[in-house]
Structures are given as C-alpha cells and as structure tokens.
Symmetry: C2
C-alpha cells in the first residue's frame, strides 16, 4: 500500500513541501512507494512555492483509514493531525518541534526530532548523499522551506546547519536568496482575501499556560500595515474564534519579517496583563510593538510560560 506523507493541519510551506520532499525520497528508493498529502489548504506562500517549482497541490485528506501506512512530518502533535492518526500504521516521524504526548506506534519505528529550524533541513541531513540526486524542483522546495521557517535566517530558531543547507541549495540552483525570499514573503503577505477569523487561524497553535487555554496566532508579513488596517475586525473576531475553538483568548502576533519585530493586538485586560508579565512591556493602547520578537517556538511560548 502506498505510504502517505503529510505534515500538520493549516499547512505552511515547510509542512506542505517537506511532505513532497520525503515522498520523493521514499519513491526514489522504491518507485511509487509514497505520495504527499495535505490536511488543509496550504497558505499563500506555500501555494506560491509549489507553482514556482512546478508542483501540483497534493490532494487534501480529511482523515486516515485504519492500517494506512503514513509518515508524519513537521509535527508530532496529534491535535494537529487527522482524528484517526493512532489507527494508522505510522512508519516514521520527522519533526523539529517539542515532543508532546499523544502518538502511539504499533512497533518500533523511525522517529527523528532535531532542534533545527526546518523539517527540510533535517531531511537533507537524513538523506545523506541522496539529496544530491534530487531534481531541481525538490531542491527548490527544500530551499523554500528553510527560507520560510527561518524568515531568511532572521528567526532565532535558525541554526548553522539550516543556513548551510539553504546556501548550498541556492548555489546549486542559481537562486539569489534575498530576491527569492522577498517573492516568497510577498506571497505570504498577500492575505487580503481571507476573513479575520481565517487570519486568526492561519498559523495558530493552542497552548495552556497556568490553566488558561490560549490560541497563539502568528502572521508573518512584510506588510504589517495591511493587517493592522484590519485591527478592529480582527479584535472583534477574537472572542468568536476563541469560543469556537475552546480557547479562552486568542493572542495575535503580527511579525514584521523585515523590521524583525512583532506587534501584539491588545483587545482586553487579560491580554494586557499577559503582555506585561511575559514581555515586560505594559501596553498603553490596543497594540504594542515587541522589538526582536519573531519566533513563537523560541520566544513567544517560552515568555508566556516563564511569566
């Protein structure tokens, strides 16, 4: 049976493209062995990247059937995976996030989690020499994943190996990193077609801190003013999204990729207090700029937890 390879729900560039990369790698060893899938519509950046490197959008699946062989990439969190994931035959997990309880495998499988910025970086390591045999399209996807997850090496999650793999691929492909990254980020910033609720859920993870369930949403953009122009609409949607998703509060961080700072929307007293306790800045209006804050994993969540 063909192995299905997929990343997390609300697919970003890394979740979309690293699934394609690994399916290619598995099929490179054994033709037809694996195919990529998606757990939702990829974001605008991922769609741009697929088109740029000549790939169709992989089929979207709602769930997995019992015994279906799968490889999970870019997450190990069952909340971000199909409802029946533990009934599937999980063959491997390749990820760069914290380990969370939930997944259970039938027997010993290959689990590789490493604290690098990007799943594709880790895949390039795992493939060893085989990455060199990849067609340009696959190399282009890997480069895109790394530029996306590292925000062109600006994010504090960036490790030397992420940069090294990306620079190597860019040189092989003859891609100029700054201009290609600018195109990717412009695609990511093109979010005018989405509703406020869609924006709040676009890149969002749930975290429980001190017994309070937060939805911590991030929008990475080169055009923060476009999103801030919809501030009132976004703040009005927050309680609706929170209630629908079983959270107490949505926190929206608008990350300005070029200025390397985040703007937090402050709709209420709870958010004001969380901001003061976590980032040491007491907001004086309904937005607050947090200089240097770019990474949910490395900066925002640790700050929330430490508070």
């Amino acid at each position: 049976m063909t192995t299905l390879v997929f990343g997390h729900k609300s697919p970003d560039t890394d979740s979309t493209c690293s699934a394609i990369i690994w399916a290619w790698f598995l099929s490179h060893h054994e033709p037809g062995a694996a195919e990529p899938r998606l757990l939702g519509t990829p974001n605008t950046e991922a769609q741009f990247v697929l088109k740029r490197w000549g790939f169709e959008m992989p089929p979207i699946i709602e769930d997995v059937t019992e015994g279906q062989p799968v490889v999970i990439v870019d997450t190990n969190n069952p909340a971000e995976l199909p409802a029946s994931i533990n009934k599937a035959d999980i063959r491997a997990i390749i990820d760069h996030h914290k380990l969370v309880p939930g997944l259970e495998t039938r027997g010993p499988i290959e689990v590789t989690i490493r604290p690098v910025a990007c799943t594709a970086t880790l895949m390039w390591q795992l493939m060893g020499g085989h990455g060199g045999h990849a067609p340009d399209g696959i190399k282009g996807l890997a480069l895109s994943c790394i530029l996306s997850d590292t925000l062109e090496f600006r994010s504090p999650t960036t490790t030397p190996i992420d940069r090294q793999v990306a620079e190597h691929l860019a040189a092989e492909l003859g891609v100029d990193i700054p201009s290609y990254a600018a195109e990717m980020f412009a695609a990511k910033s093109d979010v005018s077609r989405f509703s406020a609720a869609e924006l709040l859920r676009m890149d969002s993870k749930e975290y429980t801190v001190d017994g309070i369930d937060f939805r911590v949403s991030v929008l990475e953009t080169t055009s923060p003013q476009t999103i801030l122009a919809r501030k009132d609409e976004l703040m009005a949607a927050m309680p609706v999204v929170a209630a629908e998703d079983g959270a107490q509060q949505v926190l929206l961080f608008i990350v300005d990729i070029l200025r390397e700072e985040a703007t937090l929307l402050v709709p209420n007293e709870l958010t004001r207090r969380v901001c003061a306790a976590s980032f040491g800045v007491t907001p004086s209006s309904d937005t607050v700029v947090l200089p240097g804050i770019m990474s949910r994993k490395k900066q925002i969540i640790p700050a929330l937890r430490a508070a």
Copy 2:
C-alpha cells in the same frame, strides 16, 4: 549542571551500559558533561558485564529533581521512568521501542528512535567516527549490549546493522563472540538468589490487550530447567504480583536462548485461552513450549494483540 543519562527501571544490560556509553560520549565532547545513573539494581548479566569491562555500578536514583538535565536511553515510556520525569529538562531520547504517549519536552530536543535490536547499535551510528575513539571498556559495553539484546543474533529483532557493529567491535577487541556470549548468558541464567516475585518482575512490561492488563514477563536463560524446577512457586506468586502491580494476569515466558524456544507457564484458564488464541497452541498441561518464540517486542506482543 551535569546531565544524567539513564535507561528504564529494572535495568538490563542495554539500559545499564548504553547509559554509560552515552555519558562517555557526551563527556568526550565536554569533560564532566554527563554521568550515568540507574533506576534500580541491574540484572545479573549487566552486573557481570560491568565487572568484565572494569566499570563500577552507576549510582541508583529514585527520582529526578525539577529542571535536572537528563538524557533518556532505551525507553520512551514514562511508566518505566522516574515519577517526576516530565519536570526534568529532557535533553535527548535515544531508543528502539515503539513510541508511547507520555513524555513531554520543554522545547525541540533530539529524539532518535530506530527499529534496531539494541540502543547501543543506534548510539554507534549516531556517534559516527567518534565510536572509534572510545576506550576498550566502552566498546566492550556496546558489544555486550548487542549480544544481550539480540541473544547472540538469534532474536528476530536482530538487524544487519546490529550484527555488523557487534562483529566490528569484537574484532577490534579480540573477543570471541560465542564464548563471550556464553559467559554473559550464564551470568543472566544465574538467578537462584531471586524470589519468585523478583523473577516475575525482572524483565517485565505491562500491556493492555482487549481491556485486560497483562504483565508480560520474560526470563532469557540457557538453563530453563532451573527456572522450571520452581514452577509451582512461580505460579503461586503470579496472582500476588498481579494484584500488587495492578494487573489482571502475569504471563511468564521462559526463553531458552540456545534452543530458540519459549516455555509459557499456564496457571489458569485465562492464560490457556490467551495461549490458544495468540499462538495457536492449546496447552494440555501447566506449561507449553512455543518453538521459535524469543522476542517479546517482535513476537509475543504482536501475537497477543492480533488474537
């Protein structure tokens, strides 16, 4: 703070010695970085191996303190780890068992699980060239782990890489595998000093199959008759151990390493039915021989689950 490296409770050779190997490796990079610990008294084979290669028994710890940096080897199952494990600062997990829900890390860490027979094999792969710098004692421990977990390559869990690493180490050390393995297995078989309850818990894991909690115990030995001579005593201890450990039934498989078969004790109707359903053999007395059965992970548990 020094990182503590440990394997599972009821330490066997792999859990005891792979902790020492990895502490050596971490300290080889950064002197004093890591120290091995034990979560209980190692079995007689592990004690023999430590002495043979000139190592003291690592200190036994009862629990871990909050924030203690730790590396977990040879398990990812919180039931086999200290009660406060999720309060520790888990830095890495190196294992060859199925993934089970339970562990949670603070951030992304290094998790490596591979379907090889032995943790030490995987470590030798992860160390790359550094294994070559290991002193003979460390190489001897790694060789011992592999011979122990593969039952000298007889177990169906054995992979080509386990065999390859072991044969390479034996050649480097000038060790004759058959005679050294015989010494190890004789040490493992020397269990006369243990009570029946201790024998039932010596190498035992809990599994829930069809809503019934089993304690699946294995005794690997070159002298099954010594253990079978205590059959009545062992069967009498089963309900006591089961009740104390919150299980419904203890299943004891006495694995004859040399004949490559297991003898299951059949104290009651439940065990008789489980044996018939799982192994296709209806016991006609209070013991039954299961030819070829040597591995709990690869044979016994899958058979129980499939039934």
